[in-house]
């Protein structure tokens, strides 16, 4: 490390600050992990820190004992992969088109997109539209409606605008058509932003249960993991909070090691289950987050 004493101080402060951020984000997660591996009845007493007090798998086994979970997981993976890739690809195509000044409808189309960011049709009209399009009770509702989105479009467009125009011009002089330019120049150079968008979209699709609830709830085959977990939690909540009818009298036995799953422990286990796949995807996209190698491509 070269530089003077101030640099050192600054670096130390920086590292301490970053360590603090790491702790602030990681500790709650470890706490959730501990709760998910702890006996539910014991958790109710509070005070679980970073380690479980009574280790048990029951929260997880309770979630996975249902055979539909497998089907739901497959659907979730499918929708995440399909929607993540297709959405990013299609949005990038539109974004590239909207950066070409030759394209006359550039402004109106951009306007239409931006319009959708502020105003939507509301739930019931949307439902009617999807039903008319045959998207209700079908897998397509998971990927077709969100094929492009305004926000991601703006992000990608801004990035593409930052690429040197001369790259595209020179390619055109060599006789490349627009599609070729898009595929061979723009896409590779936009990898950092595309990887980010893929990641965000994937996370979003992985966590989204709302459309299953609204459009596909009557077809079990189309259920998604998040929706099943949501069901699980709500039914646990319902039996937990009881009504005048709920038979609190026959609540399960409650010694440590008893088998009552509480909403809180279920939530913790579910949080872990749904986070892990996304955490596993992250390293694979990591390498694209470095800046695109445009340096040296053009001499300005």
């Amino acid at each position: 490390m070269k530089g003077n004493v101030y640099d050192h101080i600054f670096d130390t402060v920086k590292i301490l600050f970053l360590l603090f951020i790491v702790a602030a984000t990681l500790l709650p997660f470890i706490n959730i992990l501990a709760i998910s591996l702890n006996d539910p009845m014991d958790t109710m007493k509070g005070g679980i820190g970073l380690l479980p007090r009574y280790f048990t798998w029951i929260n997880y086994s309770d979630i996975f004992k249902n055979s539909i979970i497998i089907r739901a997981t497959i659907n979730s993976i499918l929708r995440t992969a399909i929607a993540g890739l297709l959405h990013t690809f299609c949005t990038a195509m539109v974004a590239y088109t909207l950066t070409r000044s030759k394209f006359l409808l550039r402004i109106p189309i951009a306007m239409i997109y931006i319009f959708t960011m502020y105003i939507d049709g509301g739930l019931i009209p949307t439902f009617f539209l999807y039903r008319a399009l045959g998207l209700v009770n079908s897998f397509h509702v998971y990927w077709i409606p969100g094929l492009t989105s305004a926000w991601n479009l703006l992000v990608i467009r801004t990035y593409i605008k930052g690429l040197p125009e001369s790259l595209i011009e020179s390619a055109q002089m060599e006789g490349a058509n627009e599609f070729y330019i898009f595929m061979r120049i723009i896409l590779p150079l936009s990898m950092p932003v595309l990887a980010t968008i893929i990641l965000f979209t994937a996370v979003w699709h992985w966590n989204y249960w709302w459309d299953t609830f609204i459009f596909n709830s009557s077809d079990l085959e189309l259920t998604t993991l998040q929706y099943e977990l949501m069901k699980k939690i709500q039914s646990a909540n319902a039996s937990f909070s009881g009504s005048s009818i709920s038979d609190a009298f026959s609540m399960a036995k409650t010694q440590v090691g008893g088998s009552t799953v509480t909403p809180k422990s279920l939530r913790a286990a579910m949080t872990i289950i749904v986070s892990i796949p996304i955490i596993m995807v992250y390293p694979f996209l990591q390498r694209y987050f470095v800046h695109g190698l445009t340096i040296g491509g053009v001499k300005e």
């Binding site: 109710m44 539909i68 077809d219 949501m230 709500q234 409650t254």
Partner: protein, 554 residues
Amino acid sequence: MKKQLKIISMLTLLTIIVAGSLYARGDQDATAGGLKQYTIFLGRPAEDYPKEGTILGNWIEEKTGVRLKWEFPVGDLRQKVGLIIAGGDYPDLIDCRNENQALYDAGAFIPLDDLIEKYGVNAKKLYGKRIDMLRKDDGHIYWFPQLFPYGDKVQRTYESLGLYVQKRVLKEFGWPIPKNLNEAFDMLIEYCKRHPETDGNKTYAYTALTAGWREFALTNAPHVFSGHPNDGVADVDWVGGKWKVLPYWANEAAYKVYKLYNKIHLAGLYDTESFVMDYDQYLAKLASGSILAFCDQHWQFERVRNLLRDQEPKDRWWVGLPVVMEGYKENLEGPLDAQVSEGVGITVDCKDPVGAFKYLDFLLSEECQIAKQWGFQGTDFEIDENGLYYRTPEQIERWDDTKFIDYKFGQRYWIEICGWHHSSCYSDGKNAVSHRSQPAVFYARLKDTEKEVLDAYGKKTWYDFFNPPDMRRAKYFPLWTIKLPTGGVEDICLKRIEEIRRKYIPLLIMAEPGKYDAVWKEFLDVFNKIPDKEKLVAYYQKNLDDRVEMSGGY
């Protein structure tokens, strides 16, 4: 170009996967084994109906030749109901709990009167002359309530609500039943002085649940401690030969109750964290055993109570006591409530209303109630020589496993459809509808630590601590099931009252010494400015009168 080909072929592949995932699905609506199939939407979250069926479900299928295809809400029920109405495809049978009114307004239900006339053998038996209670404003019946009392006999073993005091406190002071709330609070404060710590935590005399809709544990305190059964939104008193709705939002009882709470706070023993705790934290706090007393309804903390009953030292659980403020009469137990505002009905889209009705009517039968609540003789319960139902220890064990009861036996799916009130008796007049209310099962499940308390007080059940219900209330009870029209002036007024009370009740409880009256005055100033209060009370009064009218008048 090669790369393009790659990408295009990849996309094609994806499309094929999608298409494949679509057409791989079998035919959904094939009816199995010659059974009729009806779809049902039940507004209460549950896990999907098990593919392999359930013990109770298979028995009902066998009896009726009907299989149900279930759907349950996930997420916001109101939104789901809005969609169902907008989409206009109703399932054959529907029960949307507190959203039923919206379905009714949309014309989703068919009237059942003629069907009851023709086929309602069991319906007539259960509802008898009280059937008019089920009628809507237009004079027709559209749904069967979740539960309805059979006959007049009340058979309970558990308390409904009250002042819950920890067993160790009662033991220390020689098993008293405090004469009034003031005395009870003095006892709690004294106990805290003697034992300021519990397992390293500070001992608190009192707490109150304030999380979201559960806040009634705090806000209904004037209602409870002036000795009223749980009408929820307002007191209902017998005035001049009629039931009269009297709000407790800012009455004398409210002033006195929160002043007593304030007394505990001034002694430094009120758990002020409770004002910001969520439900989980409340349960955790109770489970720590350091809270001596609170006011609540038993089902909100039943699990914690069970947990602490089984844990050494076994004196940290709470006994419900019939304690009210000085000058008020204790009448905390109400009659059996008929929740007529919710229930299951047949929709206009049902192609076979007669078949669906016959199915519902079977669910109303005594035979089906016994199966739902008790199970089957020999595996789930036995009958002794006096004709009383009981369970052997093994059967009790079997029925203690909620998971088994919910999803293997299948009770959860049918328990809220066309029920008899669980604290009624069957037609033999001696067996309680639910095993929960059956003395034999109650005693068999008592733990030693509970027996000690019951023996010390010389009571048979927890219910015996309380005065018997005033059965005249049965004509309307309970008031809280009267629903305000969404967005109307009454609704808005009630919301504003709740808001202001939510703000001032903590301020009252935490008032500095000698400042209580000043805070109370400030509260009254703000409270009195709320418009339409008399409209709100009048709305409840009118609906109450209508109910009394329907159940035969005074």
